[in-house]
């Protein structure tokens, strides 16, 4: 690094990125906070400021409870399952030699795919009359179920799809972490007669703990924002006309886009902003808790 400061030149190099980021990242960030406290905002003008009204309106929305419920279920069920399964797959995949490359490619495939296209494929797997799942259930004499027809079974389907969609990235990160662990630790453990399961709990997991912490944080944040999987599986309208609030698959992000789509109604944009701030605060709190836990658990 040169000692001499080159301020003007540096800012010139930064200009294109900073200009775009100012318009599309920094300004929106502040504006979101501004919008959330405006009264009856519509088409660029507002009638004044309010303190908590927009937040109250969001919370009073009959869909809000459902959105929180759906989001929480997705977060607290799919994340632990997919992290655990991905960890097991990665460790086992890392331990084999034959067919490792082929299996690895298959496990990585979902990473690049399109959430909408695959969601449609899943919707057809869960189809009552023509779906694969009911076909497989019929092999063990279980009657067909209209998986996407009720909230309970629909949620099960959504969770299956969410776990499926989350595996690839986690396996990729875990595998690259596992491959960076010095093999000598495993040789040392072998010489010391360490049972396989203890090697996993006492050596692999601690040495992989930075990856596990990273994956846990990012998956929590990611599934708090669940929306595209739902659009893929259930269709573009997360609040189809005629569904009862407690039967919909609306999530917090779904709620934000619902409000935003009614931007011509006074106050709706502010509600979207308020909801997005609530989402931000929630994910931030989770990240902080996660990091605090990791700091105690993660080694190095």
């Amino acid at each position: 690094m040169l000692e001499k400061q080159s301020n003007v030149k540096a800012w010139l190099y930064l200009l294109p990125a900073l200009a775009l980021l100012s318009v599309f990242t920094f300004y929106p960030l502040f504006n979101a906070f501004l919008l959330a406290f405006l009264k009856d905002y519509v088409y660029g003008s507002a009638t004044g400021f309010v303190f908590m009204d927009n937040f109250k309106n969001v919370i009073a929305d009959p869909n809000f409870n459902q959105a929180v419920k759906n989001t929480s279920i997705i977060v607290f069920v799919s994340v632990p399952i997919s992290v655990t399964v991905a960890l097991m797959i990665s460790v086992l995949l890392n331990s084999i030699k034959k067919f490792q490359g082929l299996l690895q490619t298959i496990f990585f495939l979902p990473y690049v795919t399109n959430a909408i296209a695959i969601g449609m494929a899943f919707a057809f797997i869960f189809n009552e009359s023509y779906g694969l799942l009911n076909l497989m259930l019929s092999w063990v004499n279980i009657d067909p179920v209209d998986w996407l027809g009720s909230w309970e079974t629909g949620m099960v389907s959504l969770l299956i799809y969410t776990v499926w969609g989350g595996l690839a990235f986690k396996i990729m990160v875990f595998l690259s972490g596992l491959q960076s662990i010095d093999k000598q630790y495993y040789d040392a453990a072998r010489v010391d007669a360490t049972p396989k399961f203890r090697v996993f709990t006492r050596i692999t997991v601690p040495l992989l703990s930075p990856m596990i912490a990273y994956i846990t944080v990012t998956s929590f944040i990611g599934s708090f924002k669940a929306y595209r999987t739902i659009v893929g599986l259930f269709g573009p309208t997360v609040l189809p006309a005629g569904t009862l609030p407690d039967e919909s698959f609306i999530t917090i992000v779904g709620l934000i886009y619902e409000s935003l789509s009614k931007s011509d109604t006074p106050g709706m944009v502010s509600e979207a902003a308020a909801a997005s701030i609530l989402l931000f605060i929630t994910t931030l709190a989770f990240t902080i808790v996660n990091m605090w836990v990791s700091k105690k658990r993660v080694h190095f």
Binding site: Q184, D187, A193, T194, R198
Partner: protein, 354 residues
Amino acid sequence: MEIKLQDLTKIFQAKDKTETVAVKSLDITIPSGKLIGLLGPSGCGKSTTLYMIAGLLKPNNGRIFFGDEDVTDMAPEDRGIGLVFQNYALYPHMSVQQNIMFPLENIKVPKDEALVRAQEMADLVGIGDLMSRKPKQLSGGQQQRVAIARALVKKPRVLLLDEPLSNLDARLRLQTREEIKRIQRETGITTIFVTHDQEEAMSISDEIVLMELGEKRQMGEPQDVYDFPNNLFVARFLGTPPINMYDGVISKKNVLVNGKAIGTTKGADGEVFVGIRPEGYIIDKDGPLELTVYMVETIGRDTALIIKVPNTENDTFRVIVDASERIKPGEVVKMKIKPKKMFVFNKETGELIN
């Protein structure tokens, strides 16, 4: 525990099916309770041999015995060995104490007993007061002691060390090698270590095994191997400065170098290599060798004369003489040779003739 390697062979197969013979029909008997150095240049198969003894590599052929027990097909964990890895392989997330106790947990030693044994081992290697530290907070030398303590704590039948000193700086190296010797003496455990550093091997081993190209070249007590090298490789590999190697001829039991007789031999007439240890020269105005001194290095006790010798492999030789001899560059010195420091080798096979 006596260790016997019989006809041990290891072949590595690369992805393109090319085969490399890393260890070739190795026969070694390692006496019980001794410290043995496996010595050789890199790629000579010494580490491969160590890993086969440990069970981490499976030989393609041959047997390994611990005492009378054939352990060739035994898993490493059943062999009762302690292994110290080149970069120690200390678990970074565990404290020193947890690292040392880890092998005991695996064999379900009760916690109280494990604590006592771990402390004993830590005291033995001199790190008893560092038990709560993490490996990252230790110096290289301390890390190595932890690794040795971890290897010894389960009372193995054999202790194996892979290049134990290579990751330490020069000063620590001297200290640590004495330490290894002391620990080995105190425990009486049969110990095998691998090194490419001849000085290291010579200084602490009870016996050394010299390996080249996957084969054993010579085994014996360090001084014996130095004094009586069986072949060209051993003669060249041992000794600093290295042995001076001349092209010579045997004629009627006389060894001739540059046409001058410098000693006698039992060998038949023919072309040979003549090796003379640097300390094997005596200044003598009637001596047969006439050497032109190119440079003089005085290192306290000794003086090394650097001699340019054309038509030899290194071009320059070193001759060690007493520091009281005052010799200047450019001088021509006449020398004779100590018979015990001269070795005559067959030019084809490299075997010792003498």
